[in-house]
Amino acid sequence: MRTRKALMTTASLAITACLAAPGSAQNTAQRAPAAASGVILPYQSPPRHLIYIATPGDEGADDQSGVIVLDADHDYRFVKRIPYGLAASELPGPKISGMTSSIPANKIYVTTDGGSMIAFDLKTDKIAWTFKGEKAPVKLQRRGSAADGCCERPYTLPGGKTLLVASAYNAWWYLIDAETGKQLGRIDTPETPRSHNLAVTADGKLAILATLSGPKEGTAGVAVVDLPNKQVLRYIHFSDAVRPITINHDGSLVYANVNNLDGFEIGDTKTGQMIKRVELPGEMWKAKWADPNHQHFGHGLPSHGIGMTPDESEIWVTDSANDAWQIWDNPGDGRNPVYNPAKTVPIQPGIGSSWISMTNDGKTAFVGDGSIIDVRAHRVIATMKDEYGRPIHAVEKVLAMTFRDGKLVETTNQFAIGDAKAVEARPERERNRQASNQN
C-alpha cells in the first residue's frame, strides 16, 4: 500500500511538473553547439609564478644573503628570503656560483664558492642535503673561492633526477642524485681543466662543458661531451679564455663570451671548429677597453653575459663598455648574427650585468644587475628589490619557477638557451609579426 501511494505521488508530481511554470532549472532554450570534439579536461589550478634569486653574487657589495623570492604575478613584490643557515658572524656567506632546480625532487640547488652545493626542499624551504665533493690532488684557487671540491655551475639534466655540476675549477664534473645528493659519477675533462660554465641539450645527449682557461694556459675552451657515455667527443678552441656560454636548441652551435672581446665567438660542436668572431662595432668599445682609467668592467672583460631567446631569433650580450645589453638578430641557421642597435637595452650604469636568464616563454629576462626586462619591448620593466625595498644588484643567478598547489611544475635553467619548440614556432610568429608591421 505504501509502495503504491509512493508511486502515485511520484506520478502526480511528474504531471504537476509538466504543467508547472518554468522555475529553477537551467534554461537551455538557446541550444549550444555540439561540444567540440576532444578530450574533456578539468581546469588546472591557477599557476603561481615565483622568481628565486640566489645571493650574494659576484662582485657584490650589497650584503645580500640567501635566496630571495619575488612574486612575478604581483609586480615582483617580495615574498620571502630563504636563509643558508649561517651564523650572523658568517653572513652574508660565500659567493654563490649558480643555481638549478628539479621538478620531481621539488628542490632547488645552490652552489657556493665556499665548497658546497646546498639542496633546499621547496615544500619546507629547509636544507635537504649538502654536497661537498672531494679533495683535489692539485688545488686551484680563484679569487678566494674554494680550492677544491665543489662547486661551480650546476645544471639539472632532462628528467630532473640527475645534476651535472662543475667542480671548483678543477678538471672534472660531478653527476649527483637530485633527490639524495649522492655522487653518481664523474666526467673528466683534462684539456679543459678549470670547470666553470656549461649547457646541456634538451635530450640530454650532449653537454658543452666550458673551462675558465684558454690559449694562454694552453687549453681548449669547451669540451663537447657525449653525456650518456660520459665521453669527451672533441674540444673547441676559442681565441681567448671562455666565459659565459649559450647553445642553440640541438647544441650544434655554442656562442661564447671570451676575454678581451665585446661580443662573442661561435663554435661548431660537430666539427670542433670556432667558426665566427662577432664584435660590437669597434668605435663603441675598443678605446674604452684600452683606457686603463675607464670605468668598471664586470668580471674583467667587456662582455661577460650571453644568452638567446628560446626561439633563437635574438642573441643578447652584455656590454660593460656602454652599460647595456646589445642584441644581435639571429636569422637562418644561426651562423651569421646581425647587430641591431635599435634593440639595445640600457641598464643601470656602473653596476655591471654579468649574466642573463629568461622565462621559458621568452617574454621576460632577468639580468645580473637586478634588472627585469620585457624581451619583446626591449625595455627594463622592474628592478629586483628585497624586503626593505633595496635594489638587489649582485645576484647569481635567477630561476623563474611555476607552482601549482604548492608543487613545482615548471622551471627554467639559469642560462638562456635555445628551445626546440620555440624554434619550431618561430616561422609562424615571424609571419604574424610581418603581417602586423604591414598593417
Binding site: A11, Q26, A29, G38, Y43, D75, R379
Partner: protein
C-alpha cells in the same frame, strides 16, 4: 480468477499471493516505468520551455560575444545561470574561479577552454594597463603584437593615466577602448599594491 494487483494484502498471505510474489517479485515495475517516464517527460518538457528571466540573462551574456558564448554556455551554465559570472574580475581572479568550478565538476575540451578564456578575457576581465604583459594587452584590447609592444615601451617611459592616454598609442582602437573603459585599470587594485 486471482487479482494480480490486490488492493489489500492480508497479514497472512494466501497461497495465490505467495505464488504471485514468487512469479512477479517486482510487480510494481510497470507503474514505476510509467511514473518515471512521466517525470522524465516533465523534466524534458520543462527544459524545452524557456524561462524568460534566464533567457534574458543568456541573451545578455551572448550579446557580449555571441560566437564564444556558444562554447561558454554548455560548460558554465550547466549548474547555474549566467548571472553568476556577468561581472568583471582580474584575469587571475577568473582563473581562480575556473579552478573552483573545476573542483565542482566543470570540465571542457581544450577547444572549449580556449573559447571560454577568450570570452572572459575579451568581455569580463579588468586589465591593469600599466602592468599587463603583451599577450594580455593583445587579448583584452584587441591589438596586434606590435601595438602591444608599443604600449609596454610607452609605459616604461611614462605610465598611462587615462583611457585617452591609451588611445594615443598608434594602433589602439578608440572604439574598443571606449567599449571596455570601465574595465581599464590605471593603478593596480588595492590588493595588488
Amino acid at each position: 480468477m486471482v487479482d494480480p494487483w490486490p488492493l489489500k494484502v492480508s497479514p497472512v498471505a494466501t497461497e495465490a499471493e505467495r505464488t504471485m510474489k514468487i512469479k512477479y517479485p517486482c510487480r510494481h515495475i510497470p507503474l514505476s516505468i510509467a511514473a518515471g517516464g512521466l517525470l522524465l517527460f516533465a523534466i524534458l518538457a520543462k527544459a524545452q520551455t524557456p524561462d524568460p528571466a534566464i533567457a534574458a540573462l543568456n541573451a545578455k551574456a551572448s550579446a557580449l560575444d555571441a560566437e564564444d558564448y556558444r562554447f561558454v554556455q554548455p560548460v558554465c551554465t550547466r549548474c547555474h545561470t549566467p548571472e553568476m559570472f556577468l561581472h568583471s574580475r582580474s584575469w587571475s581572479g577568473w582563473q581562480g574561479i575556473f579552478n573552483q568550478m573545476s573542483g565542482y565538476g566543470a570540465a571542457a575540451t581544450e577547444e572549449q577552454w580556449d573559447h571560454i578564456h577568450k570570452y572572459f578575457q575579451r568581455s569580463l576581465t579588468f586589465i591593469d594597463v600599466n602592468h599587463a604583459d603583451e599577450d594580455e594587452l593583445s587579448a583584452i584590447l584587441g591589438v596586434d603584437e606590435k601595438t602591444a609592444i608599443a604600449i609596454v615601451q610607452r609605459r616604461t617611459d611614462r605610465r598611462f593615466q587615462t583611457a585617452a592616454d591609451l588611445e594615443s598609442v598608434p594602433g589602439v582602437d578608440k572604439n574598443r577602448v571606449e567599449q571596455i573603459a570601465p574595465r581599464l585599470l590605471f593603478d593596480p587594485p588595492a590588493e595588488d599594491q
